[in-house]
Symmetry: C2
Subunit: 306 residues, 2 copies
């Protein structure tokens, strides 16, 4: 296990029309204390408060597409950040028209934000890197929906190798040489003897990854964008009884989401975006399990550690 | 008491930044089965579901101004009406720029609503009639806030006089003549004898009224627009300890709201739009009561029969 945090908080599990217990799509992802808000349906700021999440720590917001249930909480979230006196830059990644919408709302409410707000336009035809730093990289990739839509892939960067401290303590090595060992290189001790890297270090934990597929019809090519993810969130608006309706509306069934988890060689599957017509969500698990066993439900308040 | 319904449901009591228990402004008013949605802060559709309100019966929505906490639930509300297959016309009354905002959102989400949506622009400089039918009339009137803002006044039209059925049964009177009696006129019995109206009817209950003052600084002239209302909802964002902040931001204190109730000769006062800084709302009642005694709090889920 890595000591670095990789934790997902589910804020909403409903499809387009929310219910009295299910909110529209939003998730908060924490990787190594980078807080990413993923989609921002109506009521997201209220959900964040309810679950006592780190509101002002969010510096990056990713919006998959411009159907209301995926972004209508954004104007209120931006306004509250402003009213609470935020100063740090905030970047929103999403379809380019999102900037139009936010701009017209700010114009008519005579709002000048207290912090810099940056928009980065996603494009829905090919995979692209949206953001990276020393620990994390974020990609968008194409989904197939009624309007331009992307998913998002969050990946840890490779961690340094772990040095066996017990063995190191017995040697006489400078800090500069230890740094070489961490990077996977051989080193020299203070007497000029070569220390073979594999003698003194263990490989780091594998970098972990999370893929978010908000609204999409089933298409095989998607699997290439999300190969071998540790956790795949995949919408399952419908059950197989509505497979025709799923195709018509460019949504998926629980079974199709499970098939995608198989194709993508995912380790775990998380289902969400449930149509309001379904009262009993256990049915989604029962439908998915025969296809892909490691499956759970993205219900409000759930925290998943990856 | 009139047999006609006149009932207000509070959906949100918070000022600009919602809390985990207080939602932004929205109210549902039912007068004689006409359902009026008054302001529509983020999460209003979820609140309506929570309180099992008559979602699709709303035909008129009144938006006081374009600060986010008063209208950001509207796009989602309109979308859900559409997804649920609404066919009836819906009219939104509010600042003219509201139509721009909704139009750009519908354009970028590629939404063609299943029902006719009409916008009626309010103007914030003088009182105007916005809508009326045989039983109800609705006015807007100016408030003083940082951007153009109106309040709304909902009034029953005078009800017909109540006929004393016990006395009527003893007479021989045609339906046409009974109709005259209800209107307050004298009538003739089938033998040609004059029936004096006051001998056979009682006056109807006084028409009731409700005034909604969303966001406003204190100004005496407001009292003229809302004279003698049965129920006055008046914002009280702050307590008197923040009277300077109230003046700066064009908001009111609980004491100022109570002073307005006195000036307007209101029968009852309802306080709301509480700043998130106040955890104990009883303080608002304690501040208002010495000035105006019939005061209560507009908290989530409260139903007030007028």
């Amino acid at each position: 296990m890595s000591s670095q945090t990789f934790e997902l908080l589910i804020l909403g599990s409903s499809a387009a029309t929310p219910t009295s217990t299910r909110n529209p799509t939003a998730q908060l992802l924490n990787i190594a204390e980078r807080f990413f808000l993923i989609d921002c349906g109506e009521g997201t700021q209220i959900q964040l408060r309810k679950y006592k999440a780190r509101f002002q720590s969010v510096n990056h917001i990713f919006i998959s597409h411009l159907h209301g249930d995926h972004f209508l909480g954004l104007p209120g979230f931006l306004a509250s950040m402003h009213l609470l006196g935020r100063k740090n830059e905030l970047t929103v990644y999403g379809p380019k028209e999102l900037e139009d919408i936010i701009t017209v709302i700010h114009k008519h409410s005579d709002t000048q934000l207290s912090y810099p707000l940056k928009f980065v336009a996603t494009q829905s035809l090919q995979k692209q890197v949206l953001w990276e730093d020393d620990k994390v990289e974020v990609y968008s990739f194409p989904l197939r929906h009624r309007i331009p839509t992307t998913g998002f892939l969050f990946k840890e960067k490779p961690l340094p190798r772990n040095i066996n401290k017990y063995k190191l303590d017995k040697l006489d090595v400078s800090v500069a040489e230890i740094y070489k060992l961490k990077k996977g290189l051989d080193a020299l001790d203070n007497n000029g003897n070569v220390i073979k890297n594999e003698d003194l270090t263990n490989p780091p934990p594998e970098p972990r990854s999370y893929a978010f597929c908000s609204d999409t019809g089933f298409f095989k090519e998607l699997a290439q964008s999300i190969q071998s993810v540790d956790l795949l969130y995949h919408e399952s608006t419908f059950l197989e009884d509505k497979i025709d309706r799923a195709a018509q509306t460019f949504h998926s069934t629980a079974s199709q989401a499970a098939q995608m988890a198989v194709l993508a060689n995912a380790k775990n599957l998380l289902l969400g975006h449930f149509s309001a017509r379904y009262a009993y969500l256990e049915d989604f698990l029962e439908e998915a399990r025969p296809v892909f066993n490691n499956v759970s439900l993205a219900t409000e308040g759930k925290i998943i550690s990856i």
